[in-house]
């Protein structure tokens, strides 16, 4: 009877066995890259907004405090999106005929709200509270990046659970004095670790990593 397999079958068999290992490792690597890509996380993604509001211009340029618009950030889980009335405080006298601002004026006239595209959107199964983070000395910058340098706002971090836990496991890496929470480009003036130890004690920071801390 003729041979079932050609001599080359030996080489093919060896190649597929060893190749399989590399293929699996390669697939794992691709999966890892994919899971961390901005396609999956939304990190660094800019969304189209009805009005191209520039945080850069309004904060760094004009020196407006974060809390002028995000009024509830110190008291509520939600930082607050300003009503158009807040915009109109200034824009009924300056740039009042600008085309770019037409949606603001129309919404104001009709008593409507602007449908902003939400950039930092936590999943619904995550409980997040802005006020406690602000109280415990977490700067806006830690999560939102240099807002003063973003003409259009983008999601500054991956917002994956690993990122949350990175800080919850060691908040000392990111803590700052309460007075500096709204500062952009903050640099610690003293040795950062000893300051962190002091602040962690002073602010009674123990965020915990139990499931129930965030998944309530």
């Amino acid at each position: 009877m003729a041979q079932l397999f050609h001599r080359s079958a030996n080489a093919v068999a060896r190649f597929t066995i060893f190749g399989g290992v590399f293929l699996l490792a390669g697939l794992g690597y691709v999966g890892w890259i994919f899971a961390h890509s901005s396609f999956m996380t939304g990190e660094n993604v800019y969304l189209k907004q009805p009005v191209p509001f520039s945080h850069d211009h309004h904060t760094a340029g004009l020196g407006i405090d974060c809390r002028y618009c995000h009024t509830s950030v110190e008291e509520s889980n939600f930082a607050g999106i300003p009503p158009v009335a807040t915009c109109m405080n200034c824009h009924n006298i300056m740039w009042k005929r600008e085309d770019m601002l037409a949606p603001i004026r129309e919404a104001y006239a009709g008593g409507d709200a602007i449908q902003w595209s939400r950039v930092n959107d936590m999943p619904d199964y995550v409980y997040f509270d802005h006020s406690i983070h602000v109280r415990k000395g977490m700067g806006c910058e830690v999560c939102h990046g240099r807002v003063d340098r973003q003409p259009l706002i983008r999601q500054a971090t991956s917002m994956q659970m690993a990122w949350c836990l990175d800080c919850h496991r060691d908040p000392g890496k990111y803590i700052r004095p309460r007075e500096e929470v709204f500062t952009m480009g903050y640099r610690p003036t003293e040795d950062s670790r000893s300051m962190a130890e002091r602040l962690l004690k002073e602010y009674d920071v123990n965020p915990g990593t139990d499931c129930g801390v965030c998944h309530r």
Binding site: L4, F5, N10, W32, A35, A162
Partner: protein, 463 residues
């Protein structure tokens, strides 16, 4: 050929221990007989049987589809009894697998050569039973595509699974078990796959078997490496016989619920597993040896030996039941006493009495060698045990959970039609795999049967 000087001793041995192969067989006749099951045409009963099995598999597909569409709410699970059928069936299936590993590994190391005609079949049963068992934890998740949460792999949460939970130990125990069982089974199949390759009449079948035989030519070096690999895998599989069901029992024993939190669980579960497994081997062997006319290879002695193992392990299980009763009294613990009282007189008392009937009363008939030698008798007892071991897990899971410490959390549990459909569906999965196995692979190890022929033994002694 046989050396005449050894004839008397062989005859004397045969008188003491009935032979494990029918008389008049040669290596060629053994190979012909077993390989013919695969290489000959498909018998009509196979189509009937496989058709039935695939229909049950269809029920499984429907119930899984409905489960994914609706979620685990279609099952009867509720707040006191959060596990229900899923864990009962999981433990039942995993337990059934244990006989295969015991036969293939422990009996190999103990040189019990009567195992050679049932090990292939029992190992296949192990793998298929583990496959069925694995379905239940996956389905119980409700989102089985998230199963990888259970594995300690790099992830975007930077979290490990909860290593303190016995459920994670289960994942390791069962995946190890499945992997070693598959490897052991496949390695043992290689020489027989080569036999089938050489005997296949069409080139396509020959290529498939040839691919799976991985270039086996039966050289001395091949046999030497085979023996080493087989012994190593047997060594790896041996602790698994004990460890897997021990870990499964931890699912209960580590919990605090009365009726679960006992130290007797690991040995009692392991014995129960082997007990259930042998019952299933007997249930499956009896019709198959009849249908394929393999009584020469799976002889009355095999059936009797399996009956004895079932009796021995059954008695250990009954000892476990007795100790549960004793400890409830001896501990003086009110919750423990209430649990036993509720088990025997509560709303699920029927399941407890049925359990005693199946696992205690029915098994006592095996003391009689007439019953052990009667095919019908063994079959009936093994069916009782199959049911009894399912009831045992039902009793443990449901009666312990439905009335725990706080009367405010008491409740009742009944399986819904979907619970039953899923359970019957996995029986369909098991039978479908079994029918495919007996059609396409040799259900008895051909080369291991050749090794236990009288002439092979004499050749060994003569050397």
């Amino acid at each position: 050929m046989a050396d005449p000087r050894h004839e008397p001793s062989t005859a004397a041995r045969a008188a003491l221990r009935p032979p494990i192969v029918g008389p008049g067989h040669t290596p060629t006749s053994v190979t012909d007989k077993i390989a013919a099951v695969v290489t000959a045409g498909t018998p009509r009963w196979w189509f009937l049987g496989a058709g039935g099995a695939f229909s049950l598999l269809g029920i499984f597909a429907i119930s899984v589809f409905w489960l994914f569409a609706k979620g685990p709410g279609i099952w009867g699970i509720n707040n006191p009894v959060a596990w229900g059928f899923a864990i009962i069936n999981f433990v039942w299936w995993i337990g059934i697998g244990h006989a295969g590993t015991l036969i293939s590994a422990i009996l190999l190391l103990l040189k019990q050569d009567w195992r050679n005609s049932i090990n292939r079949f029992a190992e296949a049963m192990t793998i298929f039973a583990v496959a069925c068992a694995g379905m239940f934890p996956l389905l119980h998740m409700g989102r089985p595509w998230r199963f990888y949460y259970l594995l300690p792999i790099p992830n975007t949460f930077t979290l490990w699974p909860q290593f303190r939970s016995p459920l994670i130990w289960d994942v390791f125990a069962v995946t190890t078990y499945a992997l070693v069982s598959i490897l052991f089974w496949y390695v043992g199949l290689i020489p027989d796959l080569a036999t089938l390759r050489d005997r296949s009449k069409n080139r396509f079948a020959a290529s498939i078997y040839g691919l799976l035989a991985a270039g086996w030519r039966g050289s001395t070096r091949h046999w030497h490496q085979y023996e080493v690999a087989s012994m190593l895998l047997a060594g790896l599989a041996t602790p698994l016989v004990v460890s897997v069901h021990t870990v499964v029992s931890f699912d209960f024993a580590v919990g605090q619920v009365p009726g679960w939190h006992t130290t007797i669980f690991p040995p009692y579960f392991v014995a129960g597993a082997v007990f259930a497994g042998f019952a299933m081997v007997i249930t499956l062997t009896i019709p198959l040896r009849y249908l394929f006319g393999l009584q020469d290879f799976i002889t009355a002695r095999h059936m009797e030996n399996m009956g004895k193992v079932m009796l021995a392990t059954g008695l250990i299980v009954v000892y476990g039941y007795a100790i549960e009763l004793f400890i409830a009294w001896y501990s003086g613990n009110g919750f423990e006493q209430f649990m036993i009282h509720n088990r025997i007189t509560g709303p699920y008392r029927y399941s407890w009495f049925a359990l005693i009937l199946c696992n205690f009363v029915a098994v006592q008939f095996l003391w009689s060698s007439r019953v052990r030698k009667s095919v019908l008798g063994l079959f009936i007892v093994s069916m009782f045990v199959n049911v009894g071991m399912w009831l045992e897990r039902f009793v443990i899971v449901v009666t312990s959970l439905h009335r725990d410490f706080m009367p405010s959390s008491w409740g009742m549990y009944t399986g819904t039609i979907w619970d039953w459909a899923t359970y019957i569906g996995t029986i369909g999965l098991f039978l479908s795999l079994m029918f495919l196995f007996i059609r396409f692979l040799p259900m008895i190890s051909i080369f291991e049967m050749r090794m236990i022929l009288p002439e092979a033994k004499n050749a060994k002694k003569g050397a």
